[in-house]
């Protein structure tokens, strides 16, 4: 059984489950919008620009991602999904790629809705010039969050206090993505008009994805082994 | 006490070295309390292996 086939089977099952129970994506989206409102009153500003605008967006996406990470393996843990998967003659890293792709899809879906809402609610300068640069950044960042998020979720799901362990582990680990994302998005949201995106942050994000992709590939099997 | 070359920043430097020593000593103290616990448990074991003090205490070979 090829790994790609197994990843496809797992992903189809997970997407079908999400469409049916609608558990993660709506919750992450509503959480993001309410966080925008909280920032509006927390910072007491009606419109944001430059690095403040970038910071608010990226912090909100980070916390919404933590919500998605918390739910990633719950069905496997409570309904015997792990054993069912481990009984199949497939490479165990298939679960890693399937769940990473799933989280990537969730994050993209949430961002497709949350970024327009953000630009309507809080963003001062018009988002259209910033869009291509921001899209590129978000794709790279989502990949990093997806891989590290899957690792953290797999690490925490077997523990007693998993709702605590996930944010405790995920927030420091995902900090470089927030740093790179916010620093790179700040010029895009400049009040006068979108300035060019500083290239070095794309390399930081790319490096982050590659390094943690390799680490995840190397250690993920040990999290399922028993 | 030889005149330490202290100047106005003296207290901060002293503070830093004191904090360092304090942390190390706290660590050693915790380890010492663990050591004491091990000793107490060893005493318990020792009593366990010699229940009858009157007759010749037979030696129990711990495999």
């Amino acid at each position: 059984m090829s790994t790609a086939g197994a990843v496809a089977a797992l992903l189809r099952k997970d997407l079908r489950l999400e469409l049916r129970t609608r558990e993660s994506v709506p919750a992450m989206l509503l959480f993001s919008v309410s966080t925008f409102v909280i920032f509006r009153f927390g910072l007491d500003r009606e419109t944001l620009a430059g690095d403040l605008a970038a910071g608010v967006l990226w912090v909100t996406l980070l916390f919404a991602a933590v919500l998605g990470i918390n739910r990633l393996f719950v069905a496997e843990r409570e309904e015997g999904g792990f054993d069912a998967f481990l009984l199949a003659p497939v490479d165990r890293t298939a679960m890693l790629w399937a769940k990473a792709l799933l989280l990537f899809a969730f994050l993209t879906a949430v961002e497709l809705a949350a970024v327009p809402v953000y630009s309507v609610l809080l963003l001062g300068p018009s988002p259209f010039q910033a869009l291509p640069g921001l899209a590129g950044l978000l794709v790279l960042a989502n990949a990093g969050i997806a891989v590290v998020g899957t690792l953290v979720a797999a690490l925490a799901i077997q523990t007693r206090a998993r709702d605590l362990i996930v944010p405790l582990l995920a927030l420091p680990l995902l900090l470089p993505i927030v740093i790179a994302g916010a620093q790179a998005t700040a010029p895009l949201f400049a009040p006068a008009g979108a300035e060019p995106l500083p290239g070095r942050w794309l390399t930081v994000l790319g490096l982050y994805d590659v390094i943690f992709g390799l680490v995840a590939f190397a250690v993920f099997d040990f999290l399922l082994e028993d | 006490m030889p005149a330490l070359p202290l100047d106005d920043a003296g207290p901060y430097v002293a503070g830093a070295y004191l904090v360092f020593t304090a942390i190390i000593l706290a660590y050693v103290a915790i380890m010492a309390s663990k050591l004491a616990r091990i000793e107490r448990e060893l005493d318990e074991l020792e009593k366990l292996t010699e229940p009858e003090p009157e007759p010749e205490p037979e030696r129990v070979e711990a495999q």
């Binding site: 362990i165 420091p172 680990l173 740093i179 490096l207 250690v219 | 920043a9 830093a16 360092f20 380890m31």
Partner: protein, 228 residues
């Protein structure tokens, strides 16, 4: 079996520490612009480097445990990280005192290595809660090893991204400018670093011996309880 080199190590680290302190206070001249406050530098930098070294060692023993499955590697990884967290605490404390002494307030966001160290410290402080949240000792050791490897890979990236974020700051980055230190200061720094490494090794062996003794005690108790 761990206690063998302990006596020699403790004497060596005691001697090295006293020599280092003596050098710092009586031999190294005051720094050109920072003056006497610079003395904290000789304590703060070795602490930071040894703590980071301990985290890396924890990662390496983690990898060894994942490959061999032996409990000794897990114990060594646990003690190395546990000690590095304590030294990390000392690093942050001395760093804050140094910030207060030379820049006037307790926490300074301009100093990239100090900020990056705080993030790494936050991540590693989850190590203990993660271990205690898993009951099965076998799984606990394996998950702790996986965490050690992930966190080990995180440290360089964290330092790089924080440094990139601060690159525009004019503040003299003191930590990595050690290359340009005058000879006498470099010697003092090296001796302090050596002393700190010896201290780490001593405490590391000390705690390993204590943990090993406790484990033996438990097995002895179980055997005797079965026997009696």
């Amino acid at each position: 079996m761990y206690g063998r080199g302990l006596r020699f190590l403790s004497i060596a680290s005691f001697v090295a520490l006293t020599v280092a302190f003596a050098l710092v206070f009586f031999y190294a001249p005051n720094d050109a612009d920072q003056g006497f406050v610079y003395k904290i530098f000789f304590l703060h930098v070795p602490l930071a480097l040894v703590a980071l070294g301990g985290f890396v060692a924890g990662g390496i023993y983690g990898i060894k445990h994942l490959r061999s499955g032996r409990r000794e590697d897990d114990m060594k990884s646990y003690v190395a990280i546990h000690l590095s967290i304590i030294l990390g605490l000392a690093t942050l404390a001395t760093g804050m005192i140094w910030a207060k002494a030379s820049w006037g307030h307790w926490w300074v966001w301009d100093e990239p290595t100090l900020v990056a160290f705080l993030i790494v410290f936050l991540l590693y402080s989850c190590y203990q809660p993660l271990r205690f949240a898993i009951e099965d000792p076998e799984r606990q050791a394996r998950y702790a090893a996986v965490f050690a490897v992930i966190a080990g890979a995180f440290v360089p990236i964290c330092f790089m991204s924080v440094r990139f974020a601060q690159a525009s700051v004019t503040h003299p980055r003191v930590l990595d400018s050690s290359g340009s230190l005058p000879g006498s200061m470099q010697l003092t720094l090296l001796v302090s670093l050596g002393a700190m490494v010896l201290l780490f090794m001593t405490l590391w062996k000390y705690e390993l011996t204590s943990k090993h003794a406790k484990a033996q005690l438990r097995t002895l108790k179980r055997r005797l309880a079965l026997g009696a």
